[in-house]
Symmetry: C2
Subunit: 205 residues, 2 copies
């Protein structure tokens, strides 16, 4: 019997840099031996994006059929588009012994927490709200009302941190990546994850 | 207000090498910024041992007075001698913001778990029972009955692993030390330990 893989969920407020950290992790991912679960979306493909790499790009009808069939581990709508995580890939990969890495929005992370409470839930935080504001306004194209709304949302999301296992500060991407790698390796030593193999060692199973 | 330190408890079966790992950790302890809590004992000082470094060497009467006054975080008797951890040093050091490291027997670790459930409890395990048997018999001077008794005790203690947070294999001392350091750093990122500082950041406290 193969030991089951571990689900690692990286989430955090909008604008905190989840995608950048995720990409940095994938670049040096050989350390971790995990599989990244590609999200599904109905939004338009942007220049340079690849189907099956950045997202699975699907029509609204296709996405809603997946939902109806119970095929989404989590999903949400943002600006009239669906984003979500197909359940099948995650389950099959965990069953085959690989760790699975998800980088998703906070609402999605809470859906995953309910369905897979054994996962490791990591909340990426801004070093402080000032830099978060800078990141949110830094794109340059948003009006004040949009910015205020995003700030209020970010405050809400930071409050959501209490639902996570770990808080990792995204002060510098390589440092955030190192902390996440440390958490993953350390979680693999947690007793509930390893005790069965020890029970076998002393002949109790 | 100073953030409270974290209690780290290293324990495991007799003969697994707890003391060796602890000494290796203290040698390169600058990484961890923790204080080691020196145990108290009534046994005879051995050649090369220093009072206050290896143990606080006390008389039986002195030790029993500490117990009577509720001054021991944990204690036990082995071969007619008391061994234990004075409570005061641990509490004061945690209150001043330092992490405290204890290396103790499994019975003592369970006493600490009841009194300080927020601690991080690490169980050091032999790579397999064969090497544990080798370590137990390797001292050369024990008879078969003693060896069998120790083996049975080790099996019992491995079963006790379920009361710990982490299991670290002592295959090679430097690797075990690296794993423990990783656990300590990772535990410092756990949400229940850091959420108050984040609540302050967004003005909720």
């Amino acid at each position: 019997m193969v030991e089951k893989g571990m689900l690692i969920v990286l989430s955090g407020p909008s604008g905190v840099g989840k995608g950048t950290v995720r990409k940095a992790m994938l670049r040096e991912g050989s350390l971790n031996h995990f599989k990244y679960s590609v999200s599904m979306t109905t939004r338009e493909k942007r220049p340079g994006e690849q189907d099956g790499v950045d997202y699975f790009f699907r029509t609204r009808a296709q996405f809603e059929e997946q939902i109806a069939q119970g095929g989404m581990l989590e999903y949400a709508q943002y600006v009239d588009n669906y984003y979500g995580t197909p359940l099948k890939y995650v389950q099959e990969t965990l069953d085959s012994g690989w760790d699975v890495f998800l980088e998703i929005e906070v609402n999605g992370a809470m859906q995953v927490r309910q369905k897979m409470p054994d996962g490791v839930f990591i909340f990426l935080t801004p070093p402080d709200l000032k830099s978060l504001r800078h990141r949110i306004t830094g794109r340059g194209s948003e009006d004040q009302a949009t910015i205020d709304k995003r700030m209020a949302k970010a405050r809400e999301e930071i409050k959501m941190m209490s639902n996570y296992d770990y808080a990792v500060v995204n002060d510098q991407v390589p440092r955030a990546v190192a902390r996440i790698n440390q958490i993953v390796q350390s979680e693999h030593l947690r007793v509930p994850r390893v005790i069965d193999s020890y029970r076998k060692m002393i002949g109790d199973k």
